[in-house]
């Protein structure tokens, strides 16, 4: 991996204003009822007003994981980890919209686009980056809670921030996907990511996949052998068939 694009989020400065969610929705034409990003909320127990933990908001989006369960769940390899920038991408031409990757994401970062019939999720605003701009959520944030950049570039702001103590990642205990969204010092809530679920058909498919490819490979070899045979051995005259 040449680069690993990532976000470091100072969730303590989030005020839950929804600017990032709206900016993302407009930039990426996300249809009503669906979101590419979110703000989770930790609401303190108000039964004990005298000993109140502060309110806490936690912005997030696709975590562009190093161990992406969504990639493992995709039957057509439409979802993959880009080896140039480390983002998890969806090749919309290959996506068959089966939705297997949706429960495979512990963060609920994916949705099936109701019109395009393919899966969609955060791509760190790829088109904006191509224009030299930052992701929409990063640019618009009032308190600049989100910092975006390349982890592998030691001069980047994200790399600098990651050197500080108490960096945390929000992970499900049973499915640590090695996310690339990092939170500064502390964050809450942390108990919301779910265990990645891969549909059994996909698991079966993935399990037999090597054998299937072996089978296909043997077939290809057979076809090639036949081709070679046909090229090397002169065909019998066609008339023979008509006899």
């Amino acid at each position: 991996m040449k680069r690993q694009l990532a976000m470091v989020i100072d969730s303590a400065s989030c005020i839950d204003c929804k600017a990032c969610m709206t900016a993302c929705k407009v930039e990426n034409k996300v249809p009503p009822g669906n979101w590419r990003n979110w703000i989770k909320e930790q609401d303190p127990d108000l039964e004990h007003l005298n000993n109140l933990e502060p309110m806490h908001f936690q912005p997030g989006n696709c975590m562009h994981c190093d161990n992406p369960t969504c990639v493992q769940a995709c039957p057509t390899s439409a979802t993959y980890k880009d080896n140039k920038d480390g983002t998890i991408k969806v090749n919309k031409k290959l996506c068959i919209g089966c939705g297997s990757c949706i429960p495979a994401c512990p963060y609920g970062a994916r949705y099936r686009h109701p019109e395009d019939k393919v899966v969609d999720k955060c791509d760190f605003c790829e088109r904006r980056r191509a224009r030299g701009e930052l992701p929409a959520c990063v640019t618009t944030c009032p308190t600049k809670a989100r910092t975006f950049g390349d982890l592998k570039d030691s001069n980047s702001e994200v790399a600098r921030l990651l050197k500080s103590d108490n960096i945390v990642r929000v992970v499900n205990r049973e499915t640590d996907t090695q996310p690339n969204i990092y939170y500064l010092s502390m964050t809450a809530p942390t108990d919301w990511p779910v265990k990645a679920e891969t549909p059994s058909a996909i698991r079966l498919w993935k399990a037999i996949n090597p054998f299937v490819w072996g089978f296909v490979g043997l077939n290809v070899l057979g076809v090639l052998a036949m081709l070679g045979k046909q090229l090397l051995i002169k065909e019998e005259p066609l008339e023979v068939e008509h006899r």
Binding site: A23, V26, L49, T140, P142, K144
Partner: protein, 733 residues
């Protein structure tokens, strides 16, 4: 009008520009740009992408933005990183400006009412028909009832200045704006203490007390953003609020104060500060007027006394007083903005202003700041005509002690129109203002409308007020308009000038109110007073700012590097005593308490609740609830109710309830909130609409204007929206 090519930003300059944001970081815009990601070549682009500066109009903050236009369509609004007042941000509403521009619910052409008011039967008119009709109606009223027989109500808008000018030229002094539903009591209090309305240097402060303000939800630039930065820099935030808002939740200390008792808290703080001599005596001797009277006055207000009133422990009041005094003058008792809450709001806010004065939190870093020089000139326009037959004063004159002559009071104006005293008003011109949703007691506003022969509303969408009007004219959104220049105060962030040019051509048949008024003026033989173009007007505004036009063109904003601190050095205060007035002699002369005297708010009767209203970060008053992007965050409003109180009434979370006051009623779902007082309920504004032209929200939630009774502040005439007691009952389906 098509977007002017010279105002378009080329992609190259845009890239250069976002690079410049790094420089802006140093001065506080905090918009980081990752250089590694900026391509060295212009690699993008199927099709032409243009970028245009504009200024947001989704609320009153006027944040600088850059609109991206692809193939003639606005595809994204991004913050202008050079716009320091907003610290280079654009909030949810700012981002949703696109949904206002391309809203299918927009008014598309002039509409004349057919059938009864509010029946929703309209006839499409051509513009010349609509304007002829409007001019004829205005002329008829003027002839029969004098020119003051027409009330003008401009909303907060960069073109509203022309509505004020039109009213003046037409000859009516009867103008009410949105302000008497908002901040007049705060303005009154600070004018009568410091001689002007201050701005808060939140960024540099070390201690801030917020009461009757919710800055992390009701976003005000730069205060809301600076509050977070200040907190990160160690500033302490103390919040008084009967409900657990996001500001309360993110504060260092939150006190669930008994509503309407804030003054007791501030008087007790002064009691401690004066009795323990925690103020700067030299400063007091030089700058303050009436310290002796104040010292005597606050003797009666001990923290132990205040504890009973506010339900805030006396030991905390004492400690906060000492902490605040220790931090002063790098401390702020936050003045707030919407202070339309109680019948004594001016005096409540004056207790806060006096405390700021006592501690010298004024004209120095981290305190309250005087307005800075912006440098815009007032264009010279031909003198407005004088009409001999006009009455002497505004219709609402004298109905409150100390109203602002240019603002009046909507509540008192409405009462006077209904009573037709001292003279009748028969016409109403409304521009981007929606009193049927924003002014307490909707039934009274409807009653007032019955008295009117002609109601003309100019707006972008079919607001409730438009829905009940006789003639509705479609206005373009801010992204389609050319506007005058306007000056903005951003405390330590800036004093700046912004303007607007069209980002895209106007949609449908919409026309800016400037054009509409010009056409009406021509039809009323007043054309000479509107014989100027927007370019002329703006040129005159900028005539003393030689660099203004260039800066607006190249940066989207002009900064005046005017004096920030020490503005009052060697200058006298614009008060009667020429000092900061702890004791106000003018008040005493008028029979008004010269210092705030505490009177306990009315007790909430058994079985009732006090209704409070407020904001969140994704709605502006009653204007954005129908926005296609924003309404997804809150498709309908709910009644915040404490679970304990609800259970006693057999109400479950999510149940449909009826909220009833002496003014009206509404139905909405109950939402359990353990962070609201047991004697208080809350609901968001902008729902329960009358207009079927607001398709996303029609039939959803309840309307605050319907339920709120129309109490008002005794001094300023500002609406008092936290004085209403309601009954809440479970609605059986």
């Amino acid at each position: 009008m098509p977007a002017k090519p010279d105002t378009a930003i080329s992609r190259r300059s845009f890239l250069k520009w976002t690079g410049a944001a790094t420089a802006a970081t140093a001065v506080g815009a905090r918009t980081p740009v990752l250089h590694a990601l900026v391509p060295s070549e212009e690699t993008t682009a199927s099709g032409k992408v243009e970028h245009h500066f504009s200024v947001c109009d989704m609320c009153l903050n006027k944040c600088g933005l850059i609109a991206r236009v692809e193939k003639g369509v606005v595809t994204k609004l991004d913050p202008n990183p050079k716009f320091l007042k907003s610290r280079g941000m654009l909030c949810a509403r700012g981002n949703a400006g696109i949904a206002q521009l391309y809203d299918p619910d927009r008014l598309k052409y002039p509409l004349l009412r057919k059938g009864k008011r509010g029946e929703g039967k309209w006839q499409r008119l051509r513009w010349d028909q609509a304007l002829d009709y409007a001019a004829e109606q205005l002329r008829t009223i003027a002839e029969q009832y004098t020119r003051c027989g027409v009330l003008f109500s401009p909303g907060s808008d960069m073109q509203s200045t022309f509505v004020h000018w039109f009213a003046e030229v037409f000859g009516s002094y009867n103008v009410t704006t949105h302000e008497s539903a908002c901040l007049l009591s705060r303005n009154r209090a600070y004018l009568d203490t410091f001689g002007e309305v201050p701005f808060s240097d939140v960024l540099h402060t070390k201690y801030i007390i917020m009461a009757g303000a919710n800055r992390f939800e009701a976003l005000i630039t730069p205060d809301s953003i600076d509050l977070m930065t200040a907190k990160q820099n160690g500033c302490k935030l103390v919040v008084l609020d009967p409900r657990y808002t996001k500001t309360a939740g993110l504060a260092d200390e939150w006190y669930q104060v008994r509503p309407g008792t804030d003054m007791a808290f501030f008087l007790a703080l002064m009691h401690v500060i004066i009795s323990e001599k925690l103020y700067n005596a030299d400063y007091a001797a030089e700058k303050l007027f009436g310290l002796e009277q104040l010292a005597e006055h606050v003797k009666q207000y001990s923290p132990e006394w205040a504890e009973v009133e506010c339900q805030i422990p006396a030991q905390d009041i004492r400690r906060i007083a000492r902490e605040l005094a220790a931090a002063a003058p790098t401390a702020i008792v936050y003045p707030g903005r919407r202070t339309s809450d109680y019948v004594n709001s001016t005096q409540i806010r004056r207790s806060m202003a006096i405390l700021n004065g006592l501690l010298g939190n004024w004209d120095r870093p981290g305190g309250l700041l005087a307005a800075r020089q912006v440098g815009l000139s007032k264009p010279e326009l031909p003198e407005a005509p004088w009409y001999e037959d006009n009455p002497e004063d505004r219709l609402d004159m004298g109905r409150a002690h100390m109203m602002f002559e240019e603002e009046g009071s909507f509540k008192h104006m409405r009462d006077a129109i209904i009573e037709a005293k001292p003279y009748p008003i028969k016409g109403w011109l409304v521009y981007k203002h929606n009193p049927l949703q924003s002014e307490a007691n909707r039934q009274r506003t409807l009653e007032m409308m019955v008295k009117l022969d002609f109601i003309l509303t100019v707006d972008i969408a079919m607001s409730d007020t438009a829905w009940m009007s006789d003639l509705v004219l479609p206005a373009p959104s801010y992204l389609e308009r050319q506007d005058p220049a306007t000056g903005l105060q951003g405390s330590s962030a800036c004093a700046c000038v912004v303007t607007r040019n069209p980002v895209v051509p106007t949609l449908f048949e919409s026309k800016p109110v400037f054009w509409i008024l010009k056409e009406l003026a021509n039809r009323l033989e007043l054309g000479e007073h509107f014989d100027f173009t927007m370019e002329d007007y703006r040129k005159q505004q900028l005539k003393n700012l030689p660099d203004g036009e260039r800066a607006l063109r190249e940066d989207g904003v002009y900064y005046n590097p005017s004096k920030l601190y020490g503005v009052y050095e060697g200058r006298v205060y614009k008060t009667k005593s020429k000092r900061i007035e702890l004791y106000n002699e003018r008040y005493a002369e008028m029979g008004v308490d010269p210092m705030p005297v505490y009177r306990s708010p009315r007790e909430v009767p058994a079985g009732r609740f006090r209704l409070v209203v407020g904001r969140n970060a994704y709605f502006t008053h009653c204007t954005t609830q129908n926005n296609g992007l924003l309404h997804e965050f809150m498709p309908e409003n709910t009644l915040w109710i404490n679970p304990k109180s609800a259970s006693a009434l057999g109400i479950q979370d999510g149940d449909l309830v009826e909220v009833i006051s002496a003014a009206g009623k509404g139905e909405l779902k109950a939402e359990f909130k353990s962070g609201i007082r047991e004697d208080t309920v809350y609901m968001a504004s902008g729902f329960g609409v009358l207009s079927k032209g607001l398709t996303n929200i029609y039939g959803k939630g309840a309307c605050i204007a319907e339920v709120l009774e129309d109490y008002s502040d005794e001094l300023s005439g500002n609406m008092a929206m936290h004085e209403t007691f309601v009954q809440v009952t479970r609605k059986v389906a």
